[in-house]
């Protein structure tokens, strides 16, 4: 491919190790001005390390970083920023108590000495938000915004930095279709303005649509550089995992059995309104609808987090009175939370202890836990779910996102739960791990358990579910066999919701 533009940044043979782990092994990458460069790879392939090297968070053990044609030493994030590196991280770097405008200009507030020019600050923020086509007030407190809105503010903050290189790490996980379009349009505009853009995403269709060139990483190495990678999803996937995937979503539909969970007319103060649904043994029931449609709230009500104001929940024909997650777990319900970090993982525990934490009662002998039986149980699940063997003694912090997610699923399999609620189970994890999770869903439904699946990935939702309940504004507006639901039905639910709100 021709490269008509000037080199903005270049990495040459960068190597970075963490103890015995080689995160980046001789990685080279050239980023041109006015080009959108896609960077893809499974979790643990070394993308994040690479980005952090560019941002000055990590210092490479070997290799050089060049800004233009000058070699630079990025020994601190401030150095990187002063050289024009702006980054939108997966984890937010916003101050919840400050306003949107203050956050967008954080560290660059206009004004002199001790006086901040608030009006300029506000106007500049308004300009950026307007460009993005987002209707968020610059005066809103960031802590009051939804996750999707915070994501947009995070992006606006990166844009406002007027950087020479703009790095986005999974910027769209919390965004709806319309917001993604706005973002992409804006990135294209920045491209024509001469900015170099490095775009990292697990959503390959998005990458292919947006990027000019794509680099694929695997196991810390570049396996396919910008000149080699065709802009086609299948080809990229093969390079990412190093083999062909037969079928992307291999759902084995099982015979649907007796009703397992019957929900009648439940409402909560958190916005669930008279929801009725039935989950059968061996069935995957998908919840369609966008972020904020009330899908997660229904899940939380079924798991005893939000108290019911009306209606009833029956499991295996018996009425439940769920006052806490502990009650739900005891009854045989499990919730795989959307937010792995805040609601799922114990970072002070090894992978193994993360698995057993919800079933400690099984190992409790009064004055001691049966540690041997506990270890056997976790070991069995680690092998069965093909989690990395390190999980037995490593803190979960050191494991990849896919492994972390498998560990959380193992936690619920270990409780013997029969109703498994999966809230965005494949968000932010790589294709190999996704496949493993689909396979797991097959296994549990074959065993006669029921799965409720919440997913923003429409293709995944349609392919994995047996039936789909369309959720809008806290109500189930329609339940139908997955074959009868189309992508546009899902989008419609979204669109109606947006106008309703």
């Amino acid at each position: 491919m021709q490269s008509p533009h000037a080199v903005a940044w270049e990495l040459r043979d960068v190597r970075k190790t963490f103890g015995p782990v080689v995160a980046n092994d001789g990685v080279s990458l050239i980023l041109y001005r006015g080009q959108i460069h896609g960077l893809v790879g499974e979790n643990g392939s070394g993308k994040s390390t690479l980005i952090k090297t560019l941002c000055g968070v990590h210092r490479p053990d070997e290799g050089t970083v060049l800004c233009g044609d000058q070699q630079v030493h990025l020994d601190h994030p401030i150095t990187a920023r002063s050289l024009g590196v702006a980054t939108v991280f997966q984890e937010f770097s916003l101050v919840p108590d400050l306003t949107v405008a203050e956050n967008i200009q954080l560290g660059r507030w206009p004004g002199r000495a001790f006086r901040v020019n608030w009006r300029t600050l506000r106007e500049a923020a308004k300009q950026v938000l307007g460009d993005l086509g987002i209707e968020i007030s610059p005066d809103a407190r960031v802590g009051d915004l939804s996750k999707a809105q915070q994501q947009l503010v995070e992006i606006a903050k990166g844009i406002a930095a007027n950087a020479s290189i703009f790095i986005l790490d999974e910027p769209t996980t919390a965004l709806g279709a319309r917001e993604i379009e706005h973002l992409h349009a804006l990135l294209r505009r920045m491209r024509s303005g001469g900015t170099a853009i490095l775009y990292i995403s697990h959503r390959l269709d998005e990458v292919v649509r947006l990027a000019d060139v794509v680099t694929v990483m695997r196991n810390g190495r570049v396996v396919s550089d910008a000149d080699e990678t065709p802009l086609e999803v299948g080809a990229i996937v093969r390079r990412m995992i190093g083999k062909d995937i037969e079928k992307h979503y291999a759902r084995m539909h099982t015979t649907i059995g007796q009703p397992l969970l019957e929900v009648r007319d439940i409402s909560t103060d958190s916005g669930v309104r008279r929801v009725t649904l039935t989950l059968h043994r061996g069935e995957v029931l998908g919840f369609g609808g966008m972020l904020g449609s009330g899908r997660s709230e229904i899940a939380r009500a079924l798991f005893g987090i939000e108290p019911l104001t009306s209606g009833e929940i029956r499991l295996r024909g018996r009425a439940l009175n769920l006052r806490s997650p502990a009650d739900a777990i005891a009854a045989g319900i499990a919730l795989l939370p959307e937010d792995r970090k805040n609601d799922g993982l114990f970072f002070n525990f090894t992978g193994a202890r993360n698995i057993t934490v919800a079933s400690l009662g099984d190992y409790d002998r009064g004055f001691s836990l049966d540690l041997r039986r506990e270890r056997t149980a976790s070991q069995d699940l680690i092998e069965q779910l093909r989690v990395t063997p390190e999980a037995q003694y490593q803190l979960v912090d050191h494991l990849s996102g896919g492994n972390q997610q498998k560990i959380l699923i193992a936690r619920w399999l270990n409780t013997g739960a029969e109703v498994l609620i999966f809230d965005e189970p494949t968000q932010g994890i790589d294709i190999g791990a996704k496949e493993a999770i689909y396979e797991l869903i097959n296994t549990v439904t074959r065993a006669g358990k029921g799965v409720i699946l919440i997913s923003s990935d429409d293709q995944e939702l349609l392919s994995i579910s047996d039936r789909i309940a369309l959720v809008r504004a806290g109500r189930v507006v329609r339940t139908a066999a997955a074959g009868e639901v189309t992508k546009s039905d899902l989008l419609e639910t979204t669109a109606e919701r947006m106008t309703a709100a």
Binding site: P20, I329, N348, F349, S368, L369, L371
Partner: protein, 333 residues
Amino acid sequence: MTRWLRHPLTGPVVATFVVALLVWSTTDRFLAIGNLNNLALQVSIVALVAIGSTIVIIVGGIDLSPGSMIALLTMLLASMLKFWGVEFWLAIVLTLIAGAVLGCVNGFVTAYLRIPSFIATLAALSAYRGIAFMFNKGSPVFDASDRLEPLFYGHVFGIPLPFFYIVVFFVAAHWLMRHMRLGRCIYAVGGNANAARLSGINVRRTQFLAFVIAGFMAAVGAVLMAARLNSGSPNYGVGLELQAIAAAVIGGASLAGGRGDIVATLFGALTITIVQNGLNLNAVATSTQNVVIGAIIVLAVGIDMWRDEIGRLRFFSRARRSAIGPIKEGDHQ
């Protein structure tokens, strides 16, 4: 990698030995039997109270009240023995129960009324010492009982009793934290309270119980304090909570919760006590001692936080390769 450097006991044990060597280099009297005995007596109260502080820190809170609890409880115990004619052992048991009750109050305010533990126990620090002054018109109670002192100064097989208290309570606490369900729940709640709740753990009860244990351990400290001085005083235990917290922190406990180790706390307490002992032997003024202890806390926590960087220094990597050999390195590849 560098496993021995990462072990929770490494830092505190090294700290203890370093300060012991330093003190020994300044005075021969440090290793005299008499002084070592004295050291064991000195460390016992701080160390036992620090068990409670460590557990509260691990659950994600902080307890500022044990110093004041000790004042209150020594007054209670001394009054029961001297004025109220309560039978000796009953008075001891009632004191321990009273400590647990004070812990219940802290736990209730923190876990169920959801007042942050720093605020709740800061209030308790003030209130409990206030209550201590309500006994005996605010005057100390001297010569409480002639059966009290042997609890502290007694020997069994020539070994001072406080040594046995330390062994018993530390073994029990270690067992609780590493082998019992409650201990695991305490680590879980301190590590991620949200996730703990969603894993079916009763978060509030766990936090509550941590404070109850801390109250009980403060009562153990109070009984020893009263026995040591055969008296109760509303002025006992000033600043003891900070020494106990310092012991936990030098032992590697993280104030963010979820991390900490009971046995490491013992070495933390030893480190502080040895420093104090050494400064005493060298006749350094108390004011200077406090400054030195402040510096030690920063140094100990700093070394703990910089451990990764220290581990990467060439000296240590080389030492590891030759001395420890290939420990499970292959597993990571």
